[in-house]
């Protein structure tokens, strides 16, 4: 039930923020469409803790802040690569790909991990196969960085698996 309410609240907020018209007729249409979407989501069985991770609400902003700083750093590294002269570009650019094993359990945790890898410039998660994520990286250093597992530990620290209902 709480997931239904939170989905309703999110959809209503998006509708209100995007419409800008607050006459009774249009508000009624908005209510109708929000109720319809909630109904369809129920029929698709996607209203659960995976689509509405309410138990992460307090922990996520801290992770996003860390991820944002990480994105900033790796962006600068990739930009530095872009503007190198063509000789040092060949030297500094060492593309590598490897399968990185992860100990994360659960779809949500793995999706979060793989999407964080892809969102960080210089590393792209290509495929997930069992416990292994195939990662392609612009430099071998960033692969090593992933292997050290700081990102994984932070996602683990969020308590993604804790089912709170």
């Amino acid at each position: 039930m709480r997931y239904t309410i939170s989905l309703f609240a999110v959809l209503a907020f998006i509708w209100l923020a995007n419409s800008g018209h607050y006459s009774p007729l249009l508000l009624g249409f908005g209510l109708l469409s929000v109720v319809f979407v909630v109904f369809v989501a129920h029929r698709m069985n996607i209203v659960d803790s995976d689509s509405q991770p309410l138990h992460l609400l307090l922990a996520l902003p801290g992770y996003y802040w860390w991820l944002f700083r990480k994105i900033l750093r790796s962006n600068l590294e990739v930009v530095a690569c872009v503007w190198r002269g063509s000789k040092s570009l060949k030297v500094s650019l060492k593309p590598a790909s490897a399968r990185i094993t992860t100990s994360l359990r659960g779809d949500l945790a793995r999706a979060l991990y793989a999407n964080s890898i892809t969102l960080t410039p210089g590393t792209v998660a290509v495929d997930i196969d069992g416990d292994e994520i195939l990662v392609h990286a612009l430099t071998a250093d960033s692969l090593e960085d992933l292997r050290r597992g700081e990102m994984e530990a932070r996602i683990n620290g969020l308590g993604v698996l804790k089912k709170s209902c």
Binding site: V79, C81, W83, P95, T118, V124, V126
Partner: protein
Amino acid sequence: MIESVLVVVSGLALALGCFFMVSGAVGLLRFPDFYTRMHAAGITDTLATFLIVGGLMLIAGWSLALFKLGLILLFIFFTSPTASHALAKSAQHSELRLAESRAQYPEPAAVAAVEPEIAVAADTADRI
């Protein structure tokens, strides 16, 4: 006073964002193969978009436009990894498949083998 500071900061953010956009485009042209080019496109996905939309948010003032810009930023950050992953995965299913055993990716032989084909295709296109 505060408004002029906001305008200057937003101008700076927009200029920086443009610089990163151009960097991403230059990287897209300079990097040697498909996968590395995808990394260059990642700059435009994240930092450049953040700086440009953030710069616009600073001068939007407290209005509905501010919320909408925030939503745009949020959706771009949610959807761009999905798009990159779809690109990488479809490349993985095609001829650009990553070598499983080799850790080092760039294969000059493979690149050389692909390029003549493209040249041939361009030739036929010219004739048509």
